[in-house]
């Protein structure tokens, strides 16, 4: 009897170890895209926390923090189709203090083909810009007070400039939902309405070929200096250090934003989805 019980236990153990874990492979016929975000000032890599830049208005300035959202990316196929990136998320947050945010490995499979342009929203549109939509750092720190329109900052570009008196003045070059006021002061009690300041950016792609199981990396560059020139010359001495409650200033800044982005490069990454999944499968076993 005892021997039979032992056989029973061994039999159960054997049966239980016979079900191996595995990854179920799926046909894709698609590739992947990664965005790499780089930040420059006049074609040189951004150098932070140092007073080393001079804008078109002649303000010496430094950049200390840079963080922003892009959303609703579309890729335009040469066959006329357009692909909306939103299968997992339509929003990406970029923050130079968090290097991991400087690469966006897009979840969506990209159908094979040739793509000739890409567009995205700088900031967040009304549908996506909802207070408390993000609750974790670092995105949560982009919170835009409800009383000023709610949601999140589109952009936080923080730094300092040297005024004509030689004093270093901190600036918060912040973009988000603007307000209209009934009076001449920016008292929150006199807010009469809100203005959506997000804007769309469209960039041509120098031939993006998506092959099956391949990964393409697109380097997206932001030129910081462009925020302060074309079409409007931005003078910190005129606009001051805080613009969250100054709709005219935010409108001016947004109008300067149309050409801050460019495509630096597109490279094909040899690592394929298939090999990645193989690695994943091996690690599980």
């Amino acid at each position: 009897m005892t021997a039979k019980i032992l056989i029973l236990i061994i039999a159960i153990e054997f049966a239980c170890t016979s079900c191996k874990k595995e990854v179920i492979e799926q046909e894709t016929n698609a590739g992947k895209i990664e965005f790499e975000f780089v930040h420059k000032v006049r074609n040189e890599s951004l150098y932070v926390d140092s007073l080393c830049y001079l804008n078109q208005a002649g303000n010496p300035y430094e950049v200390d923090e840079l963080k922003y959202f892009i959303s609703d990316v579309y890729f335009y196929n040469t066959n006329g189709a357009k692909l909306h990136i939103d299968a997992q998320t339509a929003i990406h947050y970029v923050d130079i203090d968090y290097p991991e945010t400087l690469v966006w490995k897009i979840f969506d499979p990209i159908p094979t083909g040739t793509y000739d342009s890409v567009s995205f929203v700088f900031g967040l549109n009304e549908e996506r810009n909802i207070s408390f939509a993000f609750v974790n750092p670092p995105e949560v720190n982009m919170f835009w007070p409800t009383v000023l329109g709610g949601g999140f900052h589109y952009l936080m570009l923080n730094g300092k400039w040297k005024n004509p008196q030689g004093n270093m003045i901190p600036f918060d070059f912040h973009l988000g939902i603007g307000q209209t006021y009934s009076g001449i002061t920016s008292n929150v009690d006199s807010i009469t309405g809100f203005v959506q300041n997000y804007f769309e950016v469209t960039l041509p792609l120098p031939t993006l070929m998506i092959n099956d199981n391949s990964t393409n990396k697109i380097q997206l560059a932001m030129d910081i200096e462009s925020w302060f020139e074309t079409p409007h010359t931005w003078d910190f001495n005129d606009w001051g250090n805080y613009i969250m409650q100054n709709q005219l200033a935010m409108k001016t800044a947004c109008e300067n934003g149309y050409n801050v982005f460019s495509i630096s490069s597109i490279t094909n990454n040899k690592k394929t989805m298939q090999s990645w999944k193989d690695n994943e499968s091996h690690s599980k076993n």
Partner: protein
């Protein structure tokens, strides 16, 4: 399926030797808790008596249950350990009090499992049935835990008694005091009790303090009345209060818990020669639960990487009311239990989130109110019947149960994307059929063998149906309910073998296997559909029926003969669970970069194999008992990838216990838990919020209980 085939094969082999004799009574030693004379009947029913409950070092029912083979617990703080039977957890097990009284916990994170709403000293015994084999108290899926509280009894002469239970412990440092007055006469009899507990933070084996303090107090009153011979009316009230219970594994702590349980029972015995018993019960339970993050750093100071204060408060009202009626008919060797029951569960509550930031020198406060449940309600009504035939040569049990289950909510959330209804139609109605059968054969030589097979069907609970964006699961995801979830069905079989080894002792083995259809798990939702609302959440998962899951395992108990007062008890338990299909997000730098479908992924929160060996020595005219216990926990490598579970190392723990019945009135129970002050955690312990490290168990604990019965 292969496992089932093996079980069937072994079962047929063993049937060849069947013969008939009396079913044995077992002695079970549960680690530092010794339970002598605990009966095991109806297959795998385990009964814990009050003596074993009084021996506890920390009066928490979940802590006690963790010592039963095949029963484990999920720890999130210093108290309120959530029981798990053979890997079945939450609503997969039916936890109730006093023949069918249910309690609906108020916390979506299960800070307050049903076991936490009763004062352990009020509990006289606990019955555990593993598997879907008892259908008398509502749908049963993976098992039943029945907590039987103190009930006054009539006596021929008017009497008054006092029971006092004082408990002290060093880790956590704390004190518990319980007092019960009871007595009465033939017509009226009563019991009035009260308790207070105050425990501080505990220290792990490596000296780290864990924020785990708690305070609880309670009072209860019971009144019995005998209007006529064989008739009895029992009225009962339990009020339990929890204050400032800390849960380092959860985003918030329990600030306040007010629970009221009331019930009325009417029993009639020997109504006719055929009707042996008629039981009628009505009950109501109400829970108010309040939790917040006021003791967390982010509430009152800016904690990098946050740049503002994050404050959250949740308040939930939950209730459960219902009743049951049951007839017990006996004629000769035939017995029938038949009846009907009703359960109405309700939950309503929300969360207030405040974000306070200073911008340009001006403080701004943004607030958001979200409901967690909005007037959620579930009504379950059922009829059941159990037929028992016992001719002393073999015993047969056959049970069936039919349930109507309806759920509604007035939630206004609509989550529809590209034609997919993630959260939309809120009402659902199900008809559920459960059934089981079992047979037990005594075999020549004092052995016995039993085979049980059952189908347990349960509708999803209010959390699985309607919860909105809270980290209620094992992983750090916000969970979203699914109003259109289907019921899950457990097909389970147990093979139970009792072996009389004569002078070598007794051995009992219970091997089981189950297949679950429409298994309820959770799958990740894209951020474009839903983003998390809880601090620290990685993303959002939604409850889904994901296909089949399989559970296998066994429990074994060996009792040596007692020689010169010395005996050894050995128990072992093992569970293996896999699910047919699971979805896993591939994360890189907190970004979801891909998703894979896994086949045969482990079910999450399955305990590792565990063995206990206890050496008992009873001496000084049986008045003293010394126990040296060991708990050996194996490595758990079979972990869920889709829930990002980590493997754990095995561990060995030692405990000591000493008990002295000083005289008829006074009993002393003391001991040392975690004798070698080992730093360890159980596999089911949750992670500490904001980190990847698990919540460690307490280090060495000296405890003493003084029980006085007058």
């Amino acid at each position: 399926m292969r496992c089932l085939n093996y079980l069937l094969l072994i079962f047929l082999l063993l049937l060849g030797e069947t013969s008939f004799s009396q079913q044995p009574v077992d002695t079970i030693n549960l680690g530092e808790i010794v339970i002598q004379g605990a009966k095991i009947d109806k297959g795998n029913k385990v009964i814990l008596d009050q003596a074993s409950i009084n021996r506890m070092s920390l009066p928490d029912i979940g802590t006690l249950l963790r010592n039963v083979a095949g029963v484990n617990g999920i720890r999130k703080g210093g108290a309120s350990i959530d029981p798990v039977i053979r890997g079945y957890r939450f609503s997969q097990i039916n936890v109730m009090a006093d023949d069918g009284m249910k309690v609906e916990g108020g916390c979506p994170n299960r800070m307050d499992p049903v076991t936490s709403h009763l004062e352990p000293d009020d509990v006289e015994s606990i019955e555990i049935i593993k598997g879907p084999y008892s259908l008398r108290y509502g749908p049963s899926f993976g098992g039943i835990i029945q907590l039987n509280t103190f009930k006054p009894k009539p006596s021929d002469n008017f009497e008054i008694h006092l029971k006092s239970h004082t408990s002290l412990s060093s880790n956590p440092a704390g004190l518990g005091q319980y007092l019960l007055f009871f007595g009465g006469g033939k017509k009226f009899y009563f019991g009035v009790s009260g308790s207070y507990k105050n425990y501080h933070d505990y220290k792990t084996g490596d000296g780290n303090k864990v924020s785990s303090s708690f305070r609880k107090y309670n009072y209860s009153a019971d009144l019995g009345y005998t209007p006529a011979k064989n008739h009895e009316l029992l009225l009962s009230l339990h009020s339990n209060y929890g204050r400032d219970l800390m849960f380092p594994s959860l985003p918030m702590d329990e600030r306040k818990d007010n629970t009221t349980l009331i019930s009325a029972d009417y029993h009639i015995k020997n109504l006719t020669s055929l009707i042996r018993k008629l039981d009628i019960k009505v009950y109501g339970s109400d829970v108010y639960h309040e939790m917040d993050n006021s003791q967390r750093a982010a509430y009152s100071s800016v904690v990098p990487p946050y740049t503002g204060l994050m404050q959250a408060v949740s308040k939930v009202d939950a209730s459960n009311s219902g009743g049951r009626i049951e007839l017990n008919l006996i004629k000769g060797k035939h017995e029938l239990l038949a009846g009907a029951d009703l359960e109405i569960a309700r939950k309503d509550g929300g969360r207030l989130t405040r974000m306070i930031m200073v911008m340009n020198g001006v403080e701004t406060i943004s607030t958001k109110n979200t409901n967690l449940w909005k007037d959620s309600q579930m009504i379950n009504s059922g009829v059941f019947g159990t037929y028992i035939y016992d001719n002393q040569k073999f015993k047969i049990n056959v049970s069936a149960r039919f349930d109507l289950n309806q759920a509604t909510s007035t939630d206004t959330l609509k989550l529809i994307k590209e034609g997919v209804n993630y959260f939309n139609q809120l009402s659902s109605n199900y008809t559920n059929l459960s059934a089981n059968a079992g047979i037990t054969f005594p075999i020549k030589g004092g052995h016995s063998i039993g085979f049980y097979a059952g189908r347990g069907m349960r509708s999803p609970d209010l959390t699985e149906r309607y919860i909105k964006f809270l980290t209620v699961g094992y992983d750090s995801y916000d969970y979203l309910g699914n109003p259109q979830l289907k019921p899950e069905i457990n097909y389970q079989s147990d093979l139970i073998i009792d072996v009389n080894l004569n002078k070598a002792g007794k051995l009992k083995v219970d091997a089981y296997a189950s297949i679950i259809d429409s298994y309820i798990s959770a799958v990740p939702l894209p951020a474009s559909v839903a983003t998390p609302k809880s601090m620290g959440a990685l993303g959002v998962k939604q409850y889904k029926n994901v296909g089949q899951a399989w559970f296998y395992g066994f429990e074994a108990t060996y009792n040596s003969p007692v020689i010169k007062g010395i005996g050894v008890v050995l128990t072992a338990s093992y569970t293996y669970g896999i699910q047919e299909r699971a979805i896993k997000n591939i994360l890189e730098n907190n970004q979801v970069i891909d998703q894979v479908e896994l086949k045969n992924d482990a079910v999450q929160e399955i305990p590792p194999m565990e063995t206990r060996i206890d050496l008992n020595y009873r001496f000084y005219n049986q008045k003293m008992l010394f126990t040296l216990g060991s708990r050996i926990v194996a490595v758990q490598n079979h972990v869920s990838e889709s829930y990002y579970e980590n493997a754990i190392f095995g561990t060995v723990l030692m405990n000591m216990a000493y008990e002295f019945q000083v005289n008829k009135l006074i009993k002393l129970a003391s001991g040392i838990q975690n004798l070698f002050d080992k730093a360890y955690y159980d596999h089911l312990n949750r992670r500490i919020v904001g980190s990847t490290s698990r919540l460690y168990e307490p280090g060495r604990n000296y405890y003493m209980n003084l029980i006085i019965n007058i």
